[in-house]
């Protein structure tokens, strides 16, 4: 196989597999009849996954610690979320704090 064919094969496998997982979740969720308690648990499970995505992407770069600047930016965002600041303020504050710390030389 040429390099190009291999690239296309890889892209198709990744795209088809990713779509299949999205669809499988949706189909599975729609087919089964869940009790109200299970329904609540399922919606909580999305929150659990998203918190894990947020925590790992705040702290890590690949398999290693991603540096203090980003942790500080996300920390400020967490504080502002707790204080019920508007979403836009939270987004901008996270970027500004992280950028300033890097600019000041703290990785």
């Amino acid at each position: 196989m040429t390099q190009q064919t291999l690239w296309i094969a890889g892209i198709v496998v990744l795209a088809a597999g990713t779509f299949a997982m999205r669809m499988a979740g949706y189909r599975l969720g729609s087919r089964l009849n869940f009790s109200p308690a299970t329904q609540t648990m399922l919606s909580d499970s999305a929150t659990i996954l998203l918190l894990a995505v947020a925590a790992t992407s705040a702290l890590f770069e690949g398999h290693h610690f991603g540096g203090f600047a980003r942790v500080a930016g996300v920390g400020v965002a967490l504080f502002l979320a707790w204080r019920k600041a508007p979403l836009i303020v939270i987004i901008i504050a996270a970027a500004v704090v992280t950028a300033l710390m890097r600019w000041a030389g703290i990785a």
Binding site: L14, A15, T18, M23, T56, A58, I91
Partner: protein, 222 residues
């Protein structure tokens, strides 16, 4: 028409979604420019952005193949990173639409559209936020990859402008109200701890799945 369709969302949410799309666009520019600089023709990141539409797995694919790895091994690694879309699909089953629309609705499923979807107060708003964010990213992402291939070198480093902090920040801000409930906080916090502890030891994507172990701490109480 669009304005009316999305109007019940409120200006703040629409603005926040736009800002997230914009941030995604800047990441897309950097992604397009890195891929092309790494020796890929534009159609590789472009096809990935259109057909996969899940940033982290696309970066991983490009990094592995660019580093000399096999595209099929890269696809397998990307699929592991994307495995969380299965539980996401279960959680947003009522937002993706039915019949043929669900094909599109499923394709635009990602961290951002899911978090905007589940964080709205009413079903109508959940659906609209999910679709607006999902459609916005589905548009911004490939367009910015093309832009990146041409103008990437003129755009500041996304780390220098702190953009990498924006994604965890937006996720936290949007799920924060749900975390005020102990019923959700305890399993979510335990799950996140398990994930963070696992990161150095297992392949990318698996730690996030481990967070579902936090459900063991789940009790049907307020």
């Amino acid at each position: 028409m669009q304005a009316r369709f999305f109007s019940p969302l409120g200006k703040d949410v629409v603005k926040a979604i736009f800002l997230v799309c914009l941030a995604d666009g800047l990441v897309g520019i950097s992604y397009g420019s890195l891929a092309v600089a790494g020796g890929f023709p534009l159609w590789v990141p472009l096809m990935l952005s259109l057909l996969v539409l899940a940033g982290a797995s696309e970066f991983l694919f490009i990094a592995i193949v660019g580093g000399g790895g096999s595209p099929l091994a890269a696809a397998a690694a990307g699929l592991l990173v994307n495995a969380r879309h299965l539980p996401f699909g279960i959680a947003v089953k009522d937002l993706v639409g039915s019949k043929s629309l669900s094909w599109l609705g499923c394709h635009i499923m990602n961290d951002e559209s899911v978090v905007f979807g589940i964080s709205q107060p009413t079903h109508e708003k959940r659906k609209k936020a999910y679709w607006l964010c999902g459609a916005g990213i589905a548009l911004f992402w490939p367009v910015s990859v093309i832009a990146g291939a041409y103008i990437g070198q003129f755009i500041p480093d996304i780390k220098a402008i702190g953009l990498d902090a924006v994604f965890p920040a937006i996720l936290l801000a949007l799920i924060f109200p749900a975390l005020r409930k102990r019923r959700t906080l305890i399993p979510a916090a335990s799950g996140a701890l398990i994930s963070v502890a696992a990161v150095p030891f297992v392949p990318a994507g698996m730690p996030v799945l481990f967070s579902l172990l936090g459900l063991l701490a789940w009790r049907n109480k307020k």
